[in-house]
């Protein structure tokens, strides 16, 4: 599979989101890749609301079997969630379980007016009834089982998509 250029995907995603923005719209990135994407969108779209971030480590459904992995990050929602239009941002949408966990966490901050999901890439094979309203690229074919598609950031802050096979 050819891995799409992230810069192009970010531009596409920003143009999909732009017509739907309101002055009350806020972005919330999901750690870690989603936060990077949210940071770029925040600049590209010139959003005035501060940027939020969420680490779903404490809300994962496989916590009992896997435990905590890595160093959980502090979630930070620097605005009032209640009655706000929120766009959850992630790098890759796959099973939908991360989105489910992020929604649960988000609602512990308050009751948003509307929540949309924006992702760079949808790799399909959902295990939950979740869909992205904004999506820059959909994989035509499923990746081999066990392979991992994720966003990387190099020392210069450049983003790229990477496939690791099992």
């Amino acid at each position: 599979m050819t891995v799409p250029e992230v810069k192009q995907l970010l531009a596409t995603l920003a143009e999909q989101i732009r017509p739907q923005l309101t002055p009350e719209t806020a972005l919330v990135g999901i750690h870690t890749g989603g936060v990077w994407v949210a940071e770029r969108l925040h600049t590209l779209l010139g959003i005035s609301q501060p940027l939020g971030s969420i680490d779903v480590a404490f809300y994962r459904d496989d916590y009992n079997s896997r435990g905590l992995h890595g160093k959980p990050q502090r979630s930070g929602i620097p605005f009032d969630v209640a009655d706000r239009h929120i766009i959850l941002v992630d790098d890759v949408l796959y099973s939908g379980r991360t989105t489910r966990a992020a929604l649960n966490e988000l609602f512990d901050y308050g009751r948003p007016a509307r929540v949309d999901l924006a992702v760079l890439v949808d790799r399909g094979e959902r295990q939950l009834p979740i869909a992205a309203r904004f999506c820059a690229h959909t994989l035509a074919e499923p990746l081999p089982a066990g392979s991992k598609l994720s966003l990387r950031r190099d020392d210069h802050g450049n983003l790229s998509l990477e496939v690791k096979s099992a």
Binding site: Y63, P72, R74, S75, Y109
Partner: protein, 319 residues
């Protein structure tokens, strides 16, 4: 010997003491506690990590702060919390500790938080659970006799790290009744493991264990000498209820020589922080002017204690 607190692959199974616990685990607990402290600022102060689990708080000794913060921590992790005030229960009717535990296991306990006046009681409990094939049940020591109070030691480390960041540049003084203090033992173990270059203890000879130097500390009997230039002052409570025999002339005289006053604190570094595990005896080991002063971080300690206990319980539940 296998550390009874750790699983075969080195994860936390029980928390019984900080003595001998690897630096990596201590640091991991402090790291995990940091994001938990943010939960208090949310509208819904709950995380689902211990959903469906039952945590039994079994306190054979009185406690307000520790028991309450353990209860809050477990509830913020969505556990069901059962508080047993054992002084008014079956033990007073003659039931043994292990019989009590077996009964609580039969009620579906997933975790025990235990305080006991006898040093080693939580070890006995952990051993018993292993011997009876109930290894999945975790034990957290909430203070045993004079031996250890690991979560207090951890929350003190969290507090120090919060205000001072780097352990390897600090001089820390522990002041007071070290002899009877499980808190002091846990603090010394953690400070040493985390790389604090100079740990001092300041106390009269009668309130120090005979082999205290072997714990890797510098001993001072003169408080004014011992406080010079320290970055962190960790006060201990004068343990009246553990005081048998005449170790001290009077609490008034103790305050004169070992009570922390503004005058004595002025000898420490200007930005020194003052910790106290509570409950405080104002006018015995600490003057109100210090306890309520700008250097005191005694109330933040209590708040941090919740996050640290959440970190410990979530790590145990995932083990």
């Amino acid at each position: 010997m296998l550390n009874p607190q750790l699983t075969k692959d080195g994860r936390l199974r029980h928390l019984l003491t900080l003595d001998g616990l690897p630096k990596a685990i201590l640091t991991e607990i402090l790291d995990i506690a940091a994001p938990f402290s943010e939960v208090a600022e949310r509208e819904v102060k709950k995380l689902p990590l211990l959903r469906g689990k039952s945590v039994f708080n079994v306190f054979f000794e009185n406690s307000t702060r520790t028991r309450t913060t353990f209860e809050i921590a477990a509830k913020r992790l969505s556990a069901d919390v059962i508080n047993l005030n054992v002084s008014t229960s079956s033990t007073s009717k003659g039931e043994t500790l292990l019989d009590t535990v077996d009964n609580l296991c039969a009620m579906g306990a997933d975790m025990f938080v235990m305080r006991h006046a006898s040093s080693g009681a939580p070890y006995l409990l952990a051993q018993h659970l292993r011997a009876t094939g109930r290894d999945h049940i975790s034990v957290v020591n909430a203070g045993d006799g004079r031996h250890a109070h690991p979560t207090q030691g951890l929350l003190d480390m969290y507090t120090i790290r919060h205000y001072k960041q780097d352990f390897t540049k600090l001089t820390v003084a522990i002041v007071g009744d070290v002899l009877h203090s499980r808190v002091a033992r846990s603090e010394i173990a953690a400070l040493t493991t985390l790389g604090v270059p100079e740990v001092r203890v300041i106390a009269p000879k009668t309130l120090l264990p005979t082999d205290v130097e072997r714990m890797g500390v510098r001993v001072f009997h003169d408080m004014k000498e011992g406080l010079k230039g320290v970055d962190v002052v960790m006060m201990l409570r004068l343990q009246n209820e553990r005081m048998s025999g005449a170790l001290l002339p009077s609490s008034g005289e103790y305050f004169k020589f070992y009570g922390l006053t503004e005058e004595k604190l002025a000898l420490a570094a200007k930005d020194a922080i003052v910790l106290h595990p509570g409950p405080m005896n104002r006018g015995v080991e600490i003057d109100s002017a210090v306890a309520d002063g700008v250097n005191a971080v005694i109330l933040p300690q209590v708040t941090f204690g919740i996050a640290v206990r959440m970190a410990v319980m979530s790590m145990l539940a995932a083990g």
